[in-house]
Amino acid sequence: MELGFGAEYDSFRQEVRDFIAGHWPPADGDLKSREHERAFVIAAIERGYLHRAIPKRFGGSEQEPDIGKAEIIREELTRARAPAGRIPGNGLVVPTLLEWGTEEQKARFIAPTLRGDIVWAQGFSEPNAGSDLAALRTRAELVGDRWIINGQKIWTTHAHKATHMFCLVRTEPDASKHGGISYLLVDIRQPGVTVRPLIQMTRQKEFNEVFFDNAETPADMLVGERGKGWNVTRSTLKHERSGIATMTWSLSMFRDLVKLAKEVERDGRPAIKDPRIREELAAIEGELMSLTYSTYRATSHDMHGRDIGWFQTMPKLYMTELAGRIAKLARDIVEDDFTDMGGARLKWIERFMISLSMSIAGGTSNIQRNIIAERSLGLPRDKVQGAGA
């Protein structure tokens, strides 16, 4: 048993480090330049460091799957604050296109997507189709050689920054609930599409409503067969995911919490000296260590082809609950400053709210519970609708 990757990965890490040092930060020091970012991503793809699961002919680097290497690359890119070529929607559409797209769709979309020249929004949720996604009503009608789209999507993350949308629409109104859905690609920079940002309770803008009013997309922008869109969405992201990145996020939030508890004075001493705060902080650390080392265990098992077991379905819900616990202890520490949205503790007030978004986005906590119940514990499927269907 060891916590590292083993000696065989040390030279690989050094290679990656040397590569990054030669390319980032850019010579002129301009970290915000889109051109620099693009150049770095292209160089990293050529070196085999990014988009490793994507074939070369579609602009990827086509490497043998290796979670260890992927994790080392991620760590080193993060350490150097270098671009990782990750845009949320893009990571979702590329595997789908690889599995279901026509040769023409693959050739046209994948490479520009990997370089970040095309940015995708995901058009799945609707006002009346959330966890029950298949209840969606946005419809598309084939008129001549074009799909005419009418309806509304919601919670569309970064739609205001996106150029395209991959979306689920109802194309077969007479078919069954799941059987009437198709998967379409739409250029959203067109008059028939209106993007309206939704302001979150934190005052930030990340997601949007998107309205389709006779929007159009060519007939050959259908991915998979007509009425088979539900299956298309189920193409899994089968590549080098380790969960270490999400765990690292929790660790950094916890480090901030400890810092806060040392900074804030209460009753004439740092909050961290208050036994009640101290004990809760240690209890949170115990959960965080559980998540951390179970993630290392899971990653190791994955790399060695062993079954991860129950933990496989658990990280998201565990982290969601942990983030809530961290946010609540921060609330107890900042006390009087907790309502001051203009004050020094705004970050923690935001986290108090943002930690809630984790219980909704990407599968609500109750959907996660269904997934754990069915896939890990082997309980019978929910009679009305199984987990993540």
């Binding site: 590292g4 036994p275 265990r297 190791s300 129950w310 514990l377």
Partner: protein, 358 residues
């Protein structure tokens, strides 16, 4: 990444599990649990486990042992926890750790081969009551004859050798010395404990006991955490199985979302703890600066979780879970001992905070 058990370790636990499945099923545990009078251990099962080398795990190879580490002890502790095995392993295993770490050459030669072979049964005596479990709280003095009391000593009545935590470090007391044992009417009848009263007992200090005692206390915390994980996971599985079997309103109760979510909460509280106890055992073996903190965290988190899980298990089973004939109460009482022995979770959390330098 290699944070996983080796093929040898997997084979070792698989072999032990075969034996436990065969000879330590729930009925057998109930039989031992229900023996009239003072609690005792399952001598036949213990003999089988001795034969498989359980007492020899930590003993160095040149002293007749297997020369393995804390991870190996911990994965075995998990299994014994899973099966609620009524055997005197915990105290004995810690005694092998104590002598291996702190014994002089002569002390090792005298005791370790016989401990490894299970010819001599040993245990450890730490607690002095009132939450005084840690080495820096030990008041008893060995020099000039040992007097005073130690609490909740595992199998002291049966032990041939007791490693006693004392102000000077660690002391060996042999059977026949001036002490009395009184079996506690402890909830956990799978691991009997005694109150030990020394009255000028002859005691021999371990040569490096002072250096070994903190490590030994951490080892105890790790092994309790591992036992707690094994027991908690078994309780979750029992509850899941029962929910799939028990029918009400014409369907398995597992179909009711309220119960499903209870079961998920139990599994979610339990399963990630495996990584924590693995880490604590690994840190004990390989990361000396992290070991004490990790042991405190593992002991706090896992034993706290275990006790709560046994409560949830009763709820998940309904009336039958509240009865003496059901397995749950056996696990709950093991959880109670895991929780209390070596100090409560709260104490360990505050200790972890100190060790983190907060």
């Amino acid at each position: 990444m290699n944070f996983l058990l080796s093929e040898d370790q997997l084979a070792f636990v698989a072999a032990i599990e075969d034996l436990l499945r065969d000879r330590c099923d729930a009925q057998q545990v109930h039989r031992i649990f229900d023996v009239e009078g003072e609690a005792r251990f399952d001598a036949g099962l213990w003999a089988g486990l001795v034969e498989m080398g359980l007492p020899a795990i930590f003993v160095p190879e040149d002293r007749g042992g297997l020369g393995l580490g804390m991870v190996d002890l911990a994965i075995v502790a998990e299994l014994l926890g899973t099966y609620a095995a009524p055997v005197p392993w915990f105290g004995h295993a810690l005694a092998t750790v104590a002598i291996t770490l702190g014994g002089s050459d002569a002390q090792k030669a005298q005791w370790l081969p016989r401990l490894a072979a299970g010819e001599v049964l040993a245990t450890v005596a730490f607690g002095e009551g009132g939450g005084a479990w840690f080495p820096d709280q030990w008041q008893l003095v060995a020099t000039g004859g040992l007097s005073g009391r130690k609490m909740l000593v595992p199998n002291a009545a049966e032990a041939d050798l007791i490693v006693v935590g004392v102000a000077e470090g660690l002391a060996l007391v042999e059977k026949g010395a001036a002490y009395r044992t009184e079996r506690v009417d402890s909830g956990d009848r799978t691991r009997p404990v005694d109150t030990l009263s020394f009255d000028g007992a002859a005691a021999e200090l371990l040569a490096d006991g002072m250096a070994a005692r903190d490590r030994l206390a951490d080892a105890a915390a790790v092994l309790l955490a591992a036992d707690a994980f094994g027991g908690a996971e078994r309780c979750v599985k029992m509850s899941v199985d029962y929910a799939g079997m028990r029918e009400q309103y014409g369907q398995p109760v597992a179909a009711f979302q309220g119960l499903r979510y209870q079961l998920v909460a139990m599994a979610l509280a339990t399963e990630p703890g495996r990584g924590l106890y693995w880490y604590a055992a690994h840190a004990w073996d390989a990361l000396p600066e992290k070991a004490a903190h990790a042991a405190a965290q593992a002991k706090a988190h896992l034993t706290d979780t275990y006790l709560q899980i046994t409560r949830d298990t009763v709820e998940a089973h309904g009336g039958i879970g509240f009865t003496w004939e059901h397995d749950t109460h056996i696990y709950m009482k093991r959880a109670m001992l895991d929780w209390a022995w070596m100090g409560s979770p709260s104490r360990h959390r505050l200790r972890a905070a100190d060790l983190a330098g907060w």
